[in-house]
């Protein structure tokens, strides 16, 4: 403090400032500027006021309360420091305001003596050592060398000293000196007429004379200059920490599943639907038991180089914490990470598999996937061109190709196994398949009710093909050959789809009829392909294979295609509105007559047509509310119309963009209407075909009834009759409705140009699928995998019941949902979600590890089991958990036994003499109790309040915190003195 005094003197007695009355800072040194900068920051942070508050009686929540941190960079010449203010947010601020009593000295000095906040489980080291709740630290900025030399240290200390006095700040301020890892701080706190110096000693080894309480008490006494008599008592708090890190007794229970075995045969298929789960290694690395003796008084406990009273088993206070393995290998986590990493691979499927293979297979459309052999025997007529021999031939070529390039990423059995899992219908008999499909549909519908997670995550329903594909890709990626195997499987998958398209087999496991826009794009694409297959099927059935059509017709009851419907409607007489299922199948024979020779099947009612009777009615569905045409007595029929084109979200986006691009002008609107009038035209043509002689008014009555206004008018013979006319907007000359009507020819739907070109759309989908790189694929499948992972976590959590995990699953679902609903998900945020899922897997694995260690299964009764369960849960959530009853409680007993077991097995390994020596050397104080190892750390806290520096000075707080470990000896002291007369 010599420097500090000198500076003050200099400022006061500077002769020049007295003479000229000009304040001249032009010559201010770098050092002065640094000091003023520090003061400025203190002022900015409003730390300069008289912040003396009375210490509240309650225990402050040092570890769970909120710590506020403010940081600012300051420079000393070109040396950057960061100045940081830490403060515990006081929750009961109001209470302290009411008792605005002036405290005798700064809050920090009161904190030094407070015994309520000792050993906080989690806090800044200065908080732990000094018990303070507010302080400022100046430490060298990042990438700046540490302050090692003594003169630099002193310079800094002087600076803070000057700043504190100048600004009247009562918050303690520290500077960090020496290398960062040593955590050496030096500091000072200024009050009115009092000040506290904070200083530290840090050594590698514990000097033997200070390796116990009595030695440390000697240091404390000599440091405080203990001269008065009688001596005020010294308050002592002690905490010993024991570490258990030997789990020989509990070998890690989970063995990683043997994935090669899964593919061995029969079991394989089912196993592909399951995600692996759990940690492959021990997840808990250490148990730390802290035994605390709070508030002892000097003399009541003896601890010297030959004897110690401190038996951990009898410590009044036990607390336990766990140290977890940082990144244990977790199965589910690895799987997710691997898939996510795939996103970064730029290679195309071709580049990965070599150019030839894809082309060769793509060109030769008769070669299909390996699965074709499975489908083939039961395959019905349509693939007549594929003889059995050609199938065999192809399969052989397939295998040969595999043999040729030996490094084929997936074995043929593996591949078959996967494809069978993906397309279970292929293995089944065709008839069996048809009955099986509705079943699986029903099941998944039930799933949908209980679990709409797929909507939230925009993935695909569980059990859907897309979901299963995601699981397979994930497993293949992690366990069966990585990138190449993924590319290969994808290629085979797309080939199988192409095979199905070309041979009219529906793809099972896609549920919805039309693309479900709530699902991921890949799922929509597959559904789209299925739509195309269905429509093609319907078409082909009519054209090619008469004897199979009835089956198709009854299959399609829920979704009549224009063709079958046309056929049946020819059967219906004017009087029969609607059709039963029976009438569909009944009609089959006439149906084909009708197609071949339509003219003959006209019913008598149709022949009775008036004016337009020359044209025959075609494509009728059923009459519309028994209305008759305006210009005739014919019933008004609703025509069979073309179905709308199914759309996937990318098509839709494209279309919306085109429509939006037309702008908002009248012309734009007109053009837009025209672009969309194809559907209207088609409907009008169908209507005209079904209702020969109809007029626009008739059409409007069906299509847009509110545009046909009917009013009662009284005619000449004073009868009230209904007279109808088009609404004004329909009468506008040249409006699109009128125009389209005029252009519409009477053509039934099945002879119109298709609004939806299933061939083109299917090819588009297949092309889209073919060009997806493995990286794209991983993006497409990510929602499904996150979905599956969440389900897996839920399932695993349910068997353990861990509240924190349950909560976090909710949280991560919400977050993932937000991200995945976006058109272009933010993948860096998704990474967070995945990390979060992994963390949860880890917590569950940790819990399971703890469960076996604490032998929860062997608990005496339900109540005890529940207690233990809660205890373990808190261990996972809180930094430190109090063991109720300390060493004598139930849980204490279990912990004690864990230590004893390890000690016993350790003793067996050592020769007695050697052991004794070692133990003596390490812990002289603990030679009595051999149940525990020597403590890994000892913390001893000494406090008192005595006058310093002279016996007649004020009584002020003094504190010494000692840390003794195997490779560290640290004395952390805070010594206050009365500066009134010094």
């Amino acid at each position: 403090m010599i420097i500090f005094d000198n500076v003050n003197m200099a400022a006061v007695t500077d002769p020049e400032s007295e003479v000229f009355e000009i304040t001249d800072f032009t010559t201010a040194s770098e050092w002065e500027r640094f000091v003023s900068r520090v003061e400025e920051v203190l002022n900015e942070w409003k730390l300069t006021g008289n912040s003396t508050r009375k210490l509240s009686k309650e225990k402050a929540d040092y570890s769970n309360g909120t710590w506020e941190e403010k940081s600012q960079e300051i420079n000393f010449v070109d040396f950057t420091f960061s100045m940081t203010h830490y403060a515990l947010v006081q929750e009961n601020e109001n209470d302290t305001n009411t008792e605005l009593e002036e405290a005798p000295f700064p809050l920090a000095m009161q904190d030094l003596l407070c015994t309520k906040n000792d050993f906080p489980p989690r806090a800044h080291c200065l908080v732990r050592w000094y018990g303070i709740r507010e302080f400022v630290v100046i430490s060298p900025g990042p990438n700046v060398e540490a302050i090692i030399s003594e003169s630099k240290c002193n310079l800094l200390l002087s600076s803070i000293s000057v700043s504190l006095v100048n600004s009247g700040c009562q918050v303690p301020m520290f500077v960090q000196i020496q290398q960062k890892w040593r955590r050496l701080y030096s500091g000072e706190c200024q009050g009115h007429g009092v000040h506290t110096e904070f200083e530290m000693v840090h050594l590698r080894k514990v000097p033997s004379q200070y390796n116990h309480l009595s030695g440390l008490l000697d240091i404390f006494k000599s440091k405080t200059g203990y001269t008065i008599y009688p001596l005020p008592p010294i308050n002592v708090a002690i905490r010993f920490t024991y570490i258990l890190q030997d789990w020989q007794q509990h070998s890690w229970p989970l063995q990683p599943p043997d994935f090669d075995n899964l593919l061995g045969g029969e079991v394989g298929v089912e196993e592909f639907g399951k995600l692996p789960f759990g940690a492959c290694e021990e997840t808990i690395s250490e148990l730390h038991l802290s035994t605390t003796w709070p508030e002892l008084t000097e003399g009541t406990v003896l601890d010297n180089d030959v004897y110690s009273d401190l038996d951990p088993l009898h410590a009044p206070h036990w607390a336990l914490r766990i140290k977890t393995v940082e990144h244990p290998q977790c199965l589910l986590g690895d799987l997710l990470t691997d898939l996510f990493k795939l996103r970064g691979r730029k290679e195309t499927t071709e580049e990965i598999l070599g150019r030839g293979s894809a082309e060769e297979e793509g060109k030769d459309s008769t070669i299909s996937s390996a699965l074709s052999r499975l489908t083939e025997p039961a395959a019905p007529v349509p693939i007549s061109k594929l003889s059995v021999s050609s199938m065999v031939h192809n399969a052989r070529r397939h295998i040969q190709r595999h043999r040729l390039n030996d490094e084929s990423p997936l074995g043929i059995e593996e591949l078959n196994c996967i494809l069978q899992y993906l397309f279970p219908d292929a293995a089944m008999d065709k008839t069996e398949n048809q009955s099986a499909q509705p079943n699986s549909y029903g099941k998944s519908q039930k799933d949908q009710n209980t679990d709409d997670l797929f909507i939230q995550l925009k993935s695909a329903p569980v059990e859907s093909l897309t979901h299963r594909l995601a699981l397979c890709m994930c497993l293949v990626n992690s366990y069966h050959g990585g990138l190449r195997a993924v590319a290969y499987l994808w290629q085979e998958f797309v080939l199988e789809l192409r095979y199905r398209w070309e041979n009219n087999y529906q793809i099972c496991g896609l549920q919805e009829e039309l693309p479900d826009l709530r699902c991921c794009l890949l799922h929509q694409k597959l559904q789209m392909l299925n739509c195309c297959i269905k429509r093609k099927q319907a078409r082909d059935n009519i054209c090619n294979t008469p004897e199979r059509s009835s089956e198709t017709a009854s299959q399609n009851v829920h979704q009549p295609t224009q063709f079958t419907a046309t056929a049946s409607s020819s059967q219906i007489t004017a009087g029969s509105p609607g059709k039963s299922l029976d009438s569909w199948s009944d009609s089959e024979e006439e149906f084909f007559e009708c197609l071949s020779d339509q003219g003959d099947t006209e019913t008598p009612s149709m022949r009775r047509e008036k004016d337009g009777s020359k044209t025959r009615a075609e494509g009728r569905m059923h009459p519309c509310n028994n209305m008759t045409l305006l210009n005739s007595s014919e019933l008004l029929f609703i025509p069979v119309t073309q179905e709308p084109a199914p759309m996937t979200e990318d098509l839709l986006e494209e279309q919306s963009e085109i429509l939006a691009k037309l702008g908002t002008s009248a012309e734009g609107a007109q053009l837009r209407a025209r672009m969309q009038s194809a559907c209207l035209l088609s409907d009008m043509e169908s209507f005209k075909a079904a209702n020969p002689g109809s007029v626009l008014e008739d059409f409007v009555r069906w299509y847009s009834p509110r545009d046909f206004l009917e009013e009662e008018i009284v005619n000449e013979t004073s009868q009230t009759i209904l007279k109808g006319q088009l609404s004004p907007r329909m009468k506008i000359p040249g409006n699109i409705w009128v125009e389209t009507w005029e252009n519409a020819k009477a053509v039934p739907a099945h002879r119109q140009r298709r609004l939806f070109d299933d061939t083109r759309e299917a090819e588009k989908v297949l092309h889209f699928l073919e060009v997806q790189k493995p990286a794209d694929l991983s993006c497409h499948l990510l929602p499904c995998i996150i979905h599956a992972a969440i389900l897996k976590l839920k399932e695993e959590e349910a068997s353990e019941n861990i509240p924190s995990v349950k909560n976090n699953i909710q949280k991560v679902t919400v977050q993932a949902s937000k991200l995945l609903q976006q058109f272009n998900p933010d993948y860096s945020n998704l990474q967070d979600c995945i990390d979060f899922l992994i963390a949860m897997e880890m917590v569950i694995a940790q819990y399971r590890s703890l469960k076996t260690k604490f032998a929860i299964a062997e608990a005496e009764n339900e109540e005890q089991r529940e207690n233990l369960r809660q205890f373990l849960n808190s261990l996972l959530e809180d930094p430190e958990v109090v063991v109720s009853g300390a060493g004598h409680g139930k849980i204490g007993g279990i912990i004690h036994r864990l230590f004893v077991n390890v000690q016993e097995s350790a003793n067996l390994d050592k020769e007695p003499g050697q052991k004794k020596n070692e133990e003596r050397k390490l812990t002289e104080g603990d030679s009595k109790n051999h149940d525990f190892p020597s403590p890994a750390g000892r913390e001893i806290l000494l406090r008192t309040c005595i006058p310093r520096p002279a016996p007649y000075s004020k009584s002020l707080p003094q504190r010494l915190f000692c840390v003794l470990t195997r490779d560290e000896f640290r004395l952390v002291g805070a010594f206050s003195s009365d500066t009134s007369f010094f």
């Binding site: 806090a123 837009r672 559907c679 847009s704 509110r706 959530e877 490779d967």
Partner: protein, 205 residues
């Protein structure tokens, strides 16, 4: 021009045919009324920038045809909408009774469940009301919607309807912001203080 626009919102107008959806939109975007507004085919589209509390929002409004047959086409465009205006004609009861169907449709085809809905009873300039204001109110309350009666012809309530809807959307958290503003995940047992505060256990290995 778009620099100061806070966000772009997608709005929908749906309802039975002939209730005046396109007229409402025309009144709002161009402040005109065309008695000869032709029946919409498929979907139509208009844009308008609206200032709410000093924030400019660009509105992309999709107007749809009300005819039953078009319903196979139009719902595709519901995707991604943040707000919807559901219109009925106060002089035609059937347009009111069919509202439930429209809500079901919305439920099925919209991609988000927090979409803001507004019910508008149009054509209040006419005398032959068949649907009482209170009925509209009741329906709106039952389905948690905003409600207003309006007339595209006389301008009554039109501007207000759109403004209220947009304001409500802007007030709904998560409905329009970019995701980066969203909160980040935090494990329940993660340390709050960040890396600076070393573990309390730091002094012992």
């Amino acid at each position: 021009m778009d620099d100061d626009v806070l966000t772009t919102l997608k709005l929908l107008i749906i309802g039975e045919s002939g209730v005046g959806k396109s007229s409402l939109l025309l009144r709002f975007t161009e402040d005109t009324f065309d008695p000869e507004q032709s029946a919409t085919i498929g979907v139509d589209f208009k844009v308008k920038t609206l200032a709410i509390d000093g924030n400019k929002a660009k509105l992309a409004i999709w107007d749809t045809a009300g005819q039953e047959r078009f319903r196979t086409l139009t719902p595709s465009y519901y995707r991604g909408a943040q707000g919807v205006i559901l219109v009925y004609d106060v002089t035609k009861r059937d347009t009111f009774t069919k509202l439930e169907n429209w809500l079901n449709e919305l439920e099925t085809y919209t991609t988000r469940n927090d979409i803001v809905k507004m019910l508008v009873g149009n054509k209040i300039d006419r005398d032959d009301h068949e649907v009482d204001r209170n009925e509209g109110l009741k329906f709106a309350r039952k389905h948690a919607m905003l409600f207003i009666e309006a007339s595209a012809k006389t301008k009554d309530g039109v501007q207000c309807a759109f403004e209220e809807l947009v304001e409500k959307i802007l007030q709904t958290p998560g409905l329009w912001e970019s995701e980066s503003q969203g909160q980040t995940l935090r494990l329940g047992n993660q340390e709050q203080g960040g890396g600076r505060a070393c573990g309390g256990y730091c002094s012992v290995p």
